[in-house]
Symmetry: C2
Subunit: 468 residues, 2 copies
């Protein structure tokens, strides 16, 4: 007979104590196949518990396969490999998560920063509250994104970027990386992609890890080299035509036409247009999207809300040309849209009621002020003969190129020592050219006016103009 020292005052119910005890005995080999367990009636009387308590314990052992119930014959131990009692780590035993102290820089020129302090939280919150009341947001929606959202995006892109599309060409996704992942699926994890060098490293990493071969095409006069493209085996190219990332140039109309002509020469050629920060241009009109010139249905247009609102909202969209939109429905229809429905509904209202445009206009003005402030500070504190600025008048950072006696290592060491975060242009190259000059992306979007001036003065005095 099995003897279990039951604890009647324990928080653990009796049937669990019995179940756990017998399970342990089976796992450690004290009870083994084909032994018969005592009948529930006799074990119950032996342990002084009710018969149903033992029955429940036995049923659980049957459900998990420790014992077998044979009709009218009783319960028999199944053949099981004996192991030590399985060890459950208690939270106290577990390795402690290493404490991460976030790096903070008094002068943080992070080019990826956006200003979220001027976001219209009250508007967003009031839309959010309304949408939290809508039970429809808790039911699965379209795998391509809510239709109302795709309509709102289509109208916005048409009006602001000249993009020709209708909602059925649009796929809503969780930002650029996820949308590129879906393109990897669409292109069946194969193909050769020509990318800008220097260019967007994360996109390159995602496409590479998604199965594409990557060709890094060095820029020509700071823009995508459409002529060099002709002599490659690439069937896709990835470009940032309205504001080259990171150099900031605009792809000229002539090169745009060459690019579109290249794509139309073979049936499997496509252009991925990453329109990453076209919302922010401080001089002249917005540059129309490459997609707006595409009559042959070769451009895949990708945009996100990461710069316009914040990367934390994890939402973007792509506009597929007709043939690819059809292929997407065939090959990718079983992938649900990863953006929660509630969030889709909130941004739809935000766009529809004009708040998105209002926010963009406000941020454009704010960022232009910071941009101008930075340009002014650079010309005030950094001697013209040693510095060039490129990529100005658009986006959220500008590039400072240095030609002077200091080497990169010295510059970067001094910056770090003085609490200045500098992002090197070198990081955006697969292979930096021989004539590369120390260059840095100076983000201004996340800094107040005063901090910009102070930061540049600090950069001049402590880094570039400081005696050795």
């Amino acid at each position: 007979m099995i003897t279990i020292s039951l604890k009647p005052n324990s928080k653990t119910p009796m049937y669990i104590q019995i179940y756990e005890y017998i399970k342990g005995e089976i796992l450690n080999g004290n009870l083994s196949h084909p032994e018969k367990l005592p009948s529930s009636r006799s074990l119950a009387s032996h342990l002084q518990v009710s018969r149903s308590t033992v029955d429940i314990a036995y049923e659980q052992l049957v459900a998990e396969g420790y014992v077998d119930a044979k009709e009218k014959r009783g319960y028999f131990v199944n053949p099981i490999t004996h192991t030590q009692n399985f060890h459950v780590t208690s939270p106290a035993d577990r390795p402690a998560e290493p404490v991460k102290i976030p790096e903070t820089f008094p002068y943080d020129f992070d080019p990826d920063a956006v200003d979220t302090s001027h976001f219209p939280y009250s508007v967003w919150k009031s839309i959010g509250k309304n949408q939290l009341d809508n039970p429809e947001n808790f039911i699965s929606g379209s795998h391509y994104g809510n239709e109302e959202l795709r309509q709102a995006i289509s109208d916005y892109l048409h009006g602001s970027r000249g993009v020709n599309c209708s909602p059925e060409h649009i796929v809503v996704g969780a930002g650029l990386a996820h949308l590129l992942q879906m393109l990897c699926v669409l292109f069946e994890h194969g193909g050769v992609i020509a990318m800008e060098e220097p260019g967007y490293r994360s996109a390159r990493q995602v496409l590479h890890s998604g199965g594409f071969e990557i060709l890094d095409l060095p820029l020509k006069e700071d823009a995508f080299d459409t002529e060099a493209l002709e002599n490659t085996s690439a069937n896709i190219c990835y470009v940032t035509p309205s504001h080259q990332f990171p150099l900031g140039s605009v792809l000229s109309i002539a090169r745009r036409q060459q690019l579109l002509a290249w794509a139309s020469e073979a049936p499997d050629r496509y252009i991925i247009e990453d329109d990453h920060d076209s919302e922010f241009r401080y001089q002249g009109l917005p540059i129309p999207a490459l997609q707006s010139l595409d009559h042959k249905h070769r451009v895949i247009y990708i945009g996100t809300f990461s710069k316009a609102i914040s990367p934390a909202i994890r939402m973007g969209y792509m506009v597929l040309p007709e043939t690819l939109a059809k292929a997407y429905r065939e090959r990718c229809s079983f992938y649900p849209c990863p953006v929660p429905r509630l969030n889709q509904a909130v941004i739809t209202d935000f766009i529809r009621q004009g708040s998105f445009e209002k926010h963009l206009n406000r941020m454009r003005k704010l960022y232009k002020g910071r941009h101008d402030r930075m340009v002014e500070a650079i010309s005030r504190y950094l001697p013209e003969e040693n510095f060039d600025i490129t990529g100005d008048n658009a986006g959220l950072y500008l590039i400072l190129r240095y030609h002077g006696p200091l080497d990169e290592k010295t510059i970067e060491k001094r910056a770090e020592k003085n609490g200045i975060r500098l992002r090197s242009l070198r990081d955006y190259y697969a292979n930096p050219p021989a004539d590369y000059l120390p260059s840095y992306l100076l983000g201004f979007a996340g800094m107040e006016d005063e901090a910009i001036t102070e930061g540049i003065r600090h950069l001049a005095e402590r880094v570039f103009l400081s005696p050795p």
Copy 2:
């Protein structure tokens, strides 16, 4: 001289009218390389506008590469392929989105349905409102998911499923499909996966489109055939051990041990444990996760909030064994977590303050009631000699197997005609076996008690027992 019929009263500013006109003339070939544009001074006086108006138009043409500005010489048209004026589709011209009328069934046994009407919206909303006030939710977070959320998930899994992990083993994702996509990246889009047959079709599609070869292993006695696995080339297997999808069986302890032993025989073998609806078990204790028995670090545990809350919230998590967690940091660190930070913060609070567990307990009770109601209705209206039920006592549906004179086509035609949605078990097979009997997944989670009884009565009278 260029003559433009400017519309001074138009909403379109004068500089845009000039820019658009000249751009059009260049694109249609009326102005071509190397023609020189009139000086801005002379064009301004000719058109009777200010010189700065023309300057702005010219600068935009330069920015987009239509013309070149040569210092002290003026503006020259660049060589550009002449095309028709690019055609912008106005919203009215665009093809109308086909109007989709959602299919509704008076008797909807959808096995994927969950009841969202009993969700504690007021709690969720109040957490949501608080978190909307937290500006941190608008700043990018960890690529693996907020640390607080990973800690909350780790504690929950430890307590409810016996899963051994710490936050650094957890990756938060946008549901099962997205997490499997990340596994495809982690395994570099290659390998052979053994899957349950019948099994979860969407998972199969995602893994297949992610580059895996799929082996469909027919179930043995309704559970994963661990012995057959030995003779395959698979290095990964995908199982639903606590509640086989779709048949509903529990993988016995003996087979679990075999499976773990198989995985430990080669260094690249892994088990994906899809613990899809283990929250809902109506009899006995929860079945501990396979991961809880895994001493050799071979089990990838995946769970989501899709059944427990709703698929619309698009959130899930995976627990990676140590070696894979390290590999994930190396190979996948550039993929941002696709779940918006705000949503992560809301669910963290929801778990932390005990609302998640409370909700689960409430839903378990509610679903048990509906489950019992369905079992009762089936025994009342459908003759025992023609029907079996399997997969009961857990999950959100049960399986009705029919052995009688009607063929599948007749059954399904009658069901459709009578407004009954039936999901056939056949849909979950890659290759249904020769002795397949007409079987249907009857979901009860999305139906009120009355509707369940009525639906089953209707199914009996109008479909199975109706005269030919």
